[in-house]
Symmetry: C2
Subunit: 246 residues, 2 copies
């Protein structure tokens, strides 16, 4: 327990708050006024960081909260009949757990891909706050709607795209998400293994590896382990949209 004013201030500064969070403009409180932000911030529970491989929640756990990613990254893994399906990756500012509302349990486990911190937002409190704050309610709808859109994009990818197009999509998608979060769109580190990528894109590990190799020999990217440099984003984006044959 801090005793002096200085110590209290220091503790307060260390304790993260939406008001000082660099992701606030991308996150759920996006549309809130400063005075509403305080209310929102008050319901957030901070969590100890998750280590690589640790789970935020397990498939089937009772749904109690949604979570905003602060740093690091997560994968959602749904296990059905022994097989595991990786349905999504989540980066900072993204909201996870929303698909648990319907059946009041989480439909998949959420696993940290690296050291990861999250803000926990108890859903009942979020819901009552949403009653009073129309902007928050709308933003919550938007988050869900956006996730539905992303899922549809994924469905299109899986049902129509070739392996090359899938990998190109994956890389350009990540690039865009990093860019929007203020990181380089051209140079980043993959926090997930080739196996994770393959699982997510519906491809065998070997195929992922081969195609990444091919992209490299075509001068589209430079890959070294998990470090990625995108050399020709335009061509990659064309490929991703199935315009490789024009």
């Amino acid at each position: 327990m801090p005793h002096t004013a200085l110590e209290r201030r220091r503790a307060r500064l260390q304790q993260p708050h939406c008001q000082t969070c660099s992701l606030a403009s991308l996150c759920l409180p996006l549309a809130l006024q400063l005075e509403d932000l305080d209310q929102f911030d008050a319901i957030i529970r901070r969590r100890a960081p998750l280590k690589k491989g640790e789970m935020l929640f397990r498939q089937g756990d009772a749904f109690t909260s949604v979570f905003a990613v602060r740093s690091g990254s997560l994968k959602q893994v749904t296990s059905v009949g022994g097989e595991e399906q990786l349905t999504n990756f989540y980066l900072p500012s993204e909201l996870v757990g929303l698909d648990g509302i319907d059946e009041s349990s989480y439909p998949g486990s959420m696993v940290a891909l690296e050291t990861t911190t999250v803000c926990e937002i108890p859903f009942d409190r979020l819901n009552s706050l949403a009653e009073d704050l129309p902007e928050l309610r709308l933003q919550l709808y938007r988050s869900m709607s956006k996730e539905m859109r992303d899922d549809r994009r994924m469905i299109r990818l899986l049902s129509r795209k070739t392996a090359d197009e899938r990998l190109a999509s994956f890389l350009t998608g990540l690039s865009e998400r990093f860019r929007r979060r203020g990181y380089s769109a051209y140079s980043f580190r993959l926090s997930m293994s080739r196996a994770d990528i393959g699982n997510h894109l519906g491809l065998a590990v070997e195929t992922v590896s081969r195609i990444l190799g091919r992209f490299q020999s075509q001068g589209l990217v430079a890959v070294s382990g998990r470090e990625v440099n995108i050399l020709d984003l335009d061509t990659l984006a064309q490929l991703a949209e199935g315009e490789g044959c024009i």
Copy 2:
């Protein structure tokens, strides 16, 4: 304009209302009390039935409303770069248009597969009503959450299942949806073409046709044109879950 009391009453009875709708227990007003139901009913706009092939809305149209299917069925078609992707089919009591909230435009066209009637629910009015009716708000979250879950199931289907498993999944899924709506789980008519099914499942038309034929010769179903009789739901369900090889 009706003149007599009798005519007015007749008109009122013909005009559909949530209070008398047989789908109310599956639809958005699911959780509402009778007095709240009136409020909800008041914001609904009835629509002239759509004929087969007509569109409820087009891809890119401004998002204004969500719609509940009353009778018939719809398909959602997203067109990207000339190619069309059929992302979902919708049956009575299901809610369509929710994925338009995020970018305030519909991400795909909604096309009637047969003569179809819908209830239009203007979103701004739904949203303000949801402010006052916690049950409605929760049901709205649930609808979206459920759609996310369904999309994830679809992702799993496309990324891990063989053509046989996909068809089996499709048939058992339809069967279950019909059952829950009070229709036969074993005998129904497909409102969509083989091409639609193929597009939805990420398969070529020929593959759909072939596998349906194979299922028939295996005694799993009896198919005649678009009429389907499910003869062995258990085996079909096992197949759908990838347990065909046990």
